[in-house]
């Protein structure tokens, strides 16, 4: 491009550079800071392994619950027009905007004995406070919007016409879903699962209210930090970052082909 660059161009470039440095510098340092030795030691620490595993398993469970409960809702929002649709969409987005400790407080409030819902679930033996159930509930609450929004966008990109043709060929709506919609939407559903999982793994503020114990990884990191200081929390952080990055790369990998398709098409 032989046209001379304006100051404007250099401004955009330097602002991008500053932002990249701002994001990468702390993250790279926190990964690079601990010695291999301390990383290895942390890896052999039973508590750390347990916490990371609890983080992964509860987040995964939250993602699966989102899949089961969220897919039909995403389909409804992608396909049907109805009065109040924007309101429903707003409610689905709500958990993104609510401060994290409040989410924990809200969930605890209705799980307690002074709310009919709390009494109902306690009578069948479900306890929220300080249990894995509670953690999964919190993580589903924060992860669900990410799943629904991702899958909704994916479903919207499938022409409704294909479903109409399928039904005219003799398939019921359920059969149409599994033979036409699912094969075309599984990629966005997988992306939604990962988004949901990643959001769930990163949660701390709501969990720390509902269940300090059993300890998920972010809580463990927080505890190590408050109890022993920065240096002792860093190795645990590295392991959790690696899990997050793996999810993140998986997501990029899954969305990459469809994004490049959208560009050329």
């Amino acid at each position: 491009m032989p046209v001379k660059k304006e100051p404007f161009f250099w401004l955009t470039l330097s602002s991008a550079g500053i932002i990249l440095a701002f994001i990468l510098l702390p993250l790279v340092h926190v990964i690079a800071a601990p010695s291999m030795e301390s990383l290895w030691e942390t890896f052999n620490d039973k508590d750390v392994r347990k916490a990371i595993w609890l983080s992964i398993s509860t987040s995964g469970l939250a993602a699966i619950i989102s899949l089961v409960a969220g897919t039909p809702t995403a389909y409804l929002l992608a396909r049907k027009e109805f009065p109040g649709k924007r309101l429903v969409e707003s409610v689905v987005d709500l958990p993104i905007m609510i401060p994290h400790p409040i989410i924990g407080i809200a969930i605890l409030s209705i799980a307690g004995r002074n709310h009919w819902f709390g009494r109902a679930i306690q009578s069948i033996g479900v306890e929220i406070m300080g249990t894995t159930t509670g953690i999964v509930t919190v993580l589903t609450f924060v992860g669900l919007p990410f799943y629904i929004n991702t899958v909704k966008a994916g479903l919207e990109s499938i022409p409704e016409r294909l479903e109409k043709v399928s039904r005219s060929l003799g398939a019921s709506q359920t059969q149409t879903f599994f033979r036409v919609v699912f094969p075309l939407a599984w990629r966005s559903m997988l992306a939604g699962l990962i988004m949901c999982c990643a959001r769930a793994i990163s949660e701390f503020g709501a969990i720390v209210i509902v269940a300090y114990h059993p300890m998920v990884a972010p809580v463990l990191i927080y505890e190590r930090f408050t109890a022993y200081g920065l240096k002792y929390s860093q190795p645990v952080a590295v392991w959790l970052i690696l899990v997050s990055l793996a999810l993140f790369l998986g997501l990029r990998f899954i969305t990459l082909p469809s994004a490049s398709k959208a560009k050329t098409g």
């Binding site: 016409r161 109409k164 060929l169 003799g170 019921s172 709506q173 094969p183």
Partner: protein, 346 residues
């Protein structure tokens, strides 16, 4: 075969009012109208994949208004083919056979036969994404016919195709219709397609039926100014009749009424207006008058010529080479002749 009774629907930016349509067994029926006239909505209501707010739909004498689409026995082919992008050609065609009571072998034979019949056997394993428009429509047709529907619905099946492919598929549709004695309901905005393919037609305008009948009849004898314009009779003038004569006052024309005593309009096709460089010798000729060329609209090889005569605008059509050899351009004066037998009164 298909009977639509008092079909109505009310959508935010469109409404359909009490449409009655009857398609006979084995007939090719065309639903004509400009874009946004509600043609596709009618088609989808027959297939059961669109909204119906009131009215009833019968196929083969049985009411299907509340039946789910998969139990209606109605095939549908859309303008954009609507092929399943995750299935190859063969699997697209075989899609509906799972719901038919047939042995695996019979199914395979039937799909094979269909692909042969539609000339797409060499494409069997190909992804549908890379097919040409014409090939896609062939696959869509084969798929719709695979389940032997009682009725075939066609939604502008030719519009998205290149002119060359269009003719191909038009001939194929004509063949299929006569060979398989299909009952077809086709939506189109192109009258020449209807003229070629269908026996009867209905012209829709603003959510209502404007004229219904034999397609040649509509073409030659439109019953309203809208339909006249739609079938290409672009010159429409008010007319009146008395004493066995019909008159087009604005053109100073008068002729025997021939048993059509009370016409309201007279219409002529652009290609029936003759353009002459100078006044012909025999002076007392019928329908001859001077006009000025206001402009020309270029359609490639041929032009539409807009003519001013007194307060009237006339539209003529002529080959560009003819216009060039006459040296005609905007502003030129010409003589226009309207042959008496080309005027349609209604």
């Amino acid at each position: 075969m298909i009977r639509i009774e008092q079909l109505s629907m009310d959508l935010p930016d469109f409404s359909l009012n009490n449409v009655d349509i009857h398609v006979r067994e084995g007939e090719f029926f065309a639903l004509l109208g400009p874009t946004g006239a509600g043609k596709t909505l009618i088609l989808e209501s027959v297939a059961g994949v669109g909204p119906v707010h009131s009215g009833r739909i019968f196929v083969d004498g049985a009411e299907i208004t509340r039946l789910p689409p998969e139990r209606r026995g109605v095939g549908i082919v859309y303008q954009d083919a609507g092929l399943f992008p995750h299935l190859n050609v063969e699997k697209n065609i075989a899609y509906g056979l799972r719901y038919q009571k047939k042995t695996e072998k019979k199914r395979l034979d039937w799909v094979k036969w269909l692909m042969e019949r539609f000339g797409i056997a060499p494409l069997a394993g190909r992804s549908v994404e890379n097919l040409s428009g014409g090939e896609k429509q062939r696959v869509a047709l084969a798929r719709a016919l695979s389940v032997k529907p009682r009725v075939l619905l066609l939604d502008e099946p030719l519009s998205a195709l290149d002119p060359a492919f269009r003719e191909d598929l038009r001939n194929l549709l004509k063949e299929l219709h006569s060979q398989l004695s299909l009952t077809c309901l086709m939506v189109t905005h192109d009258f020449s397609e209807a003229l070629f393919l269908s026996q009867r037609a209905a012209v829709l305008n603003k959510g209502g039926v404007e004229q219904c009948g034999g397609v040649k009849d509509i073409f030659n004898r439109p019953a309203s100014p809208f339909v006249a314009h739609f079938v290409g009779m672009k010159n429409v003038f008010p007319a009146c009749g008395e004493n066995g004569q019909v008159r087009v006052d604005c053109l100073n024309l008068s002729m025997p009424s021939n048993g059509r005593p009370e016409p309201k309009y007279a219409a002529v096709r652009p290609e029936h207006l003759l353009l002459l460089e100078r006044k012909p010798v025999q002076d007392n000729q019928f329908g001859l008058f001077p006009a000025e060329i206001r402009g020309m609209v270029d359609y490639g090889i041929f032009c539409e010529v807009l003519l001013d005569y007194q307060d009237q605008t006339l539209v003529a059509a002529a080959a560009k080479s003819a216009l060039m050899s006459m040296g005609l351009d905007a502003g030129a004066k010409v003589w226009v002749e309207i042959p008496q037998d080309r005027i349609h009164f209604f």
